[in-house]
């Protein structure tokens, strides 16, 4: 049974290797004005890379069981780019809760093969590109 499961995971992983998806995020600013952001998410091995305006903004590391085990964000600080690492379980949970980056949404797509319909108000899958 374990072998069958591993085979399924492998098949699915192979299926999503090199895939790029485009996600539109719907937000409101602090004055409650709506705005949107177009995210590009590229999967390479067990890492999801998140791009905004063609700039790498974050990487999400996914374990075999589909759990996010590490997030690396590329933040600006005092004029320089800085790696911002989140690897504690409670901090990852906190970061996922903010829903600024479509981390969970992309993870669901690449791991489960479908998007979380509950989050369709916040994010929408608008394009899938095969490599």
């Amino acid at each position: 049974m374990k072998k069958v499961m591993l085979c399924m995971v492998l098949l699915f992983t192979l299926n999503t290797i090199g895939k790029t998806i485009m996600i539109k995020g719907y937000y409101t600013d602090f004055q409650n004005n709506p705005f949107t952001l177009n995210w590009k998410v590229v999967k390479k091995n067990n890492v999801l890379k998140f791009f905004l305006k063609n700039k790498l903004k974050a990487e999400v590391y996914i374990a075999r069981n589909g759990q996010i085990i590490k997030i690396v964000e590329y933040k600006t600080l005092a004029g320089r780019e800085k790696k911002f690492i989140i690897d504690k379980k409670e901090y990852i949970k906190l970061e996922l809760k903010t829903d600024f980056f479509p981390f969970s949404f992309a993870r669901d797509y690449f791991v489960n093969g479908k998007v979380n319909t509950k989050k369709q108000n916040k994010f929408k899958l608008i394009e899938v590109k095969e490599k």
């Binding site: 504690k88 901090y91 906190l94």
Partner: protein
């Protein structure tokens, strides 16, 4: 012994159980202090509460030679004198303070000197629209208690640990849990706690950089050591069986005073489209330079240049300017500087270069200023700005002219053999009412000085008018040309009273078209509600005037199409006293007139705009002054059918546009000759226009022959509208800004135009469904009422008043006709030639007002 051991063990247990644990974390890269630039005075564009003139935004525009785009945008979008006190750029500054390196030296870019404070302000503007990862929900002031309670203290504690402790990174907090936002960067925290059972009692102190310096403002050279304040919060965390916190809640004062949310900017964006972060970085990278300003005036009397109060000057040596003051002008000219001990910085001289004095220092406004008042003739002056101006912030300077008088302007005059252009002037009496004592004073005349402007540097006062003339209710023709018979470009009256009125009439000698223009006040925003689409039939011209001889101005324009989109936008530069007049296709050569719905003009300075409508067969002409006032929510205007020419084939058209960014709703009442009202709503979306002939404003099946008038009540938003009246066969055309609906008891004034082969017929329309009385007064050349007649008009009657038959006074001695009724009437004057070639109507625009004044 056993007891002793037990006691000691218990003591040790309690000691550890209640021991306080403390953690202090501070990051190595501190945020920098700046300023939150409140929107109610926005020093970024106004200089208020900062370094006055020039403001950081003005410097940016000048350095990039972009004609005040950034400043104007900022004034229009981020400067609201009535804004709630907490609106400002705190988020822009807070984001800049962590994302950007602190500016630490002044720099020179295209001869403009930027101080550290200027650069901090520009960086704040560049980051004003940032958004990003947000922990907690913003509380909007509603009944969402959950949004008020969060950010949950456990989440806040984790955020601080994640950012400051694990990643050596600051975090932004909104320190106010209410709907107000006060954003600050946190760079240090102290956390102490004691455990009691499964509860952890926590005290958290956060260190935030301040959004100003010690005196509550930002000085131009403020940088360096981080000034900070602290906020201390208390909360309890609930621990699981492993001693790990799983939830938390605020305690003590922190229940109502805790951060609303925390965030870090991940999507950076400025709001002002005319300020670029890359450009600000480029300015910051420059060093300060001692080079002289190539744009500054030359350095002696001989090379003095005309003063331009919209220019930023740089002082490296003495600067000399020329300027003049007209009769009737009253202008306070000021210059801000920062050295209060050497204030003989601006000296003024007469045209013979004789020293007259210096601008005295004004301790209230912290500037030097001098009030110039006009004499009997135009007076020329030289100004000299002395170098060196000692002090820290005097590399750049600007003058400001505060005009303590009113300009009455006709923006267009004509000098060709084809046109006969003549001008009438008069004064509309009004009642001045003291709002404290209710004491009323009738104002019957005012003084003013009449000035013709030939071009930006050449002007005259007609010799026959010098030095001051008194304007009375007697409308009188005044000379247009000077003694050499030269015609000015445009004309103005300098006065203290806006009730002085000018009318300029234009008659073509060829095909018989006629138009007229009455004076309007300069404003900062105008709308031309309609550009004709039948370009084969209509020509359309525009005239724009800069009414100031102290400054050049930039006028921004937006042309909207019929899909409510911007077709074209751009800028028109107008020098001091300059005028732009041309047909549409020459002003906007790359835009199809037929695709243009309407035009909006705006500037940070006052200006005047008007449209000219004409037919290509040259038989019809009408001037339509641009609208700066608009018809706003709660106001009601109307269009009367009887203003149409009483001919066989008359027509009337109405143009209405919504020039705003939100929808407008109009309650339209169609009134027939039985006083029956048929009502409907008209909704206009942003930038939508409705233009049509009068009958198409009627509901389906409505009998047009019964129509008396249409009322337009704006119940939401603002609109701009006007009406055109004409005749399909006879080449008549007249424009009208629809008058305000009223209940009567109004007094109207009309010029009795004579000569130029014209005669004036006064007409009165009874707008009521019953008989009314209206009284007509004849006013002579001295402004006195010499005779009156009262008329009885039946319901909805249109009556032509026979001046020569009903009045004993010779009509040529009557200069003005005054009309009064206690009921709702529409009086108007029909001015035409006997042969019908020339035709105009003057609507009920000159109305007596009551002006409230306060003792103080």
């Amino acid at each position: 012994m056993k007891r002793l051991v037990t006691f000691l063990l218990l003591m040790i247990f309690f000691f550890y159980a209640n021991a306080q644990t403390t953690e202090t974390v501070e990051i190595t890269t501190r945020p920098w202090n700046g300023y939150w630039w409140p929107l109610n005075n926005n020093g970024l564009c106004t200089g208020q509460d900062y370094n006055k003139y020039p403001s950081p935004m003005e410097k940016y525009d000048m350095a990039l030679n972009q004609k005040y785009h950034a400043t104007t945008w900022e004034i229009n979008n981020h400067y609201f004198p009535d804004a709630p006190y907490w609106w400002g750029h705190c988020n822009g500054w807070a984001v800049a303070s962590i994302l950007e390196q602190e500016p630490t030296h002044k720099s020179t870019f295209n001869s403009i000197v930027f101080y550290v404070g200027d650069l901090k302000g520009l960086l704040s503007e560049c980051h004003q629209g940032a958004s990003g990862t947000t922990y907690g929900t913003r509380y909007m002031g509603d009944d969402n208690q959950q949004a008020f309670d969060d950010i949950n203290p456990l989440d806040l504690q984790n955020v601080l640990k994640m950012y400051l402790k694990d990643n050596n990174t600051p975090i932004l907090i909104d320190a106010d849990p209410t709907k107000e936002i006060w954003t600050y960067p946190v760079y240090k925290y102290e956390l102490s706690y004691t455990d009691e059972g499964n509860t952890r009692h926590c005290t958290l102190t956060v260190y935030c950089a301040t959004d100003s310096y010690d005196n509550g403002i930002l000085n131009p050279d403020d940088f360096g050591d981080t000034h900070s304040f602290t906020k201390t919060y208390t909360y309890d965390l609930t621990l699981d069986s492993n001693g790990d916190p799983v939830s938390g809640e605020w305690t003590g004062n922190s229940v109502n005073d805790h951060p609303d949310f925390a965030w870090y900017p991940d999507n950076d964006a400025g709001k002002n489209p005319y300020v670029s972060l890359a450009q600000v970085h480029s300015i910051m990278s420059n060093d300060y330079s001692d080079e002289d300003d190539p744009n500054e005036p030359d350095n002696d009397f001989e090379h003095a240049k005309p003063l331009d109060t919209n220019k930023i000057y740089r002082i490296e040596n003495d600067d000399y300017f020329t300027m003049f003051i007209e009769p009737g002008e009253d202008v306070t000219l000021s210059m801000t500087f920062n050295d209060y001990f050497h204030y003989e910085v601006v000296k003024y001289y007469d045209s013979e270069q004789n020293y007259l004095g210096f601008f005295p220092f004004n301790s209230i406004d912290k500037d030097v200023n001098y009030r110039f008042t006009g004499g009997n003739e135009i007076t020329n002056y030289y100004l000299n700005v002395k170098y060196p101006v000692t002090g820290d912030y005097n590399d750049n300077y600007m003058f400001k002219a505060h005009e303590n008088y009113t300009k009455i302007i006709i923006p267009h005059t004509l000098e060709t053999s084809y046109w006969d252009n003549f001008v009438y002037a008069g004064f509309i009496p009004y009642t001045k009412k003291n709002s404290d004592t209710n004491e009323e004073t009738e104002i019957l005349n005012a003084n003013g000085s009449y000035v013709g402007v030939f071009n930006e540097n050449n002007r005259m006062v007609p010799e026959t008018m010098l030095p001051t003339i008194q304007f009375s209710p007697a409308f009188t023709e005044i000379p247009l040309n000077d003694s050499s018979n030269n015609t000015p470009e445009w004309i103005k009256v300098n006065t203290t009273d806006a009730h002085v009125k000018l009318l300029s009439f234009y008659q073509s000698h060829g095909d018989g078209s006629m138009g007229y223009f009455y004076s309007i006040q300069p404003a900062k925003r105008f709308v031309l509600p309609h550009v004709p689409s039948h370009t084969n039939y209509w020509w359309y011209g525009i005239v724009i005037v800069n009414p100031s001889h102290f400054k050049s101005i930039n006028v921004f324009y937006k042309l909207y199409d019929y899909h409510k989109h911007i077709l074209k936008e751009g800028t028109l530069y107008i020098p001091q006293y300059g005028k732009i007049v041309d047909v549409f296709e020459n002003i906007f050569p790359d835009v199809e007139m037929g695709q243009t719905s309407y035009i909006e003009f705006y500037s940070k300075d006052n200006f005047i705009v008007s449209a000219l409508y004409g037919t290509r067969n040259h038989r019809e002409l009408a001037y339509v002054p641009a609208d700066s006032r608009f018809i706003n929510e709660g106001e009601k205007v109307y269009v009367t059918k009887d203003l149409m020419p009483q001919t066989d084939n008359p027509w009337a058209g109405i143009a209405i546009v919504n020039p705003t960014e939100s929808y407008s709703k109009i309650y339209i009442s169609v009134v027939n000759n039985h006083n029956a009202y048929t009502r409907y709503y008209l909704t206009l979306y942003p930038h939508e226009k409705k233009v049509d002939v009068l009958e198409n404003f009627l509901p389906d099946g409505y009998d047009y022959s019964t129509l008396e008038r249409i009322e337009f009540e704006v119940i939401k938003g603002s609109i701009s509208m006007f009406a055109l009246y004409g005749d399909h066969d006879q080449g008549m055309l007249a424009s009208l800004i629809p008058p305000q609906w009223n209940n009567g008891m109004e007094t109207y004034f009309f010029p009795n135009i004579q000569g130029h082969s014209l005669s004036t017929t006064l007409k009165i329309k009874n707008e009521a469904n019953y008989s009314i009385h209206a009284t007509v007064y004849a006013i002579d050349a001295n402004g006195n009422e010499i005779e009156h007649q009262t008329y009885t008009l039946s319901n909805f009657e249109l009556r032509s008043i026979d001046i020569s038959g009903d009045f004993s006074t010779d009509p040529s001695q009557i200069k003005t006709l005054k009309v009064y009724s206690s009921r709702f009437i529409t009086p108007f004057a029909e001015i035409k030639s006997d042969d019908g070639k020339f035709y105009e109507i003057i609507g009920p625009v000159f109305k007596k007002e009551t002006v409230l004044i306060q003792n103080n």
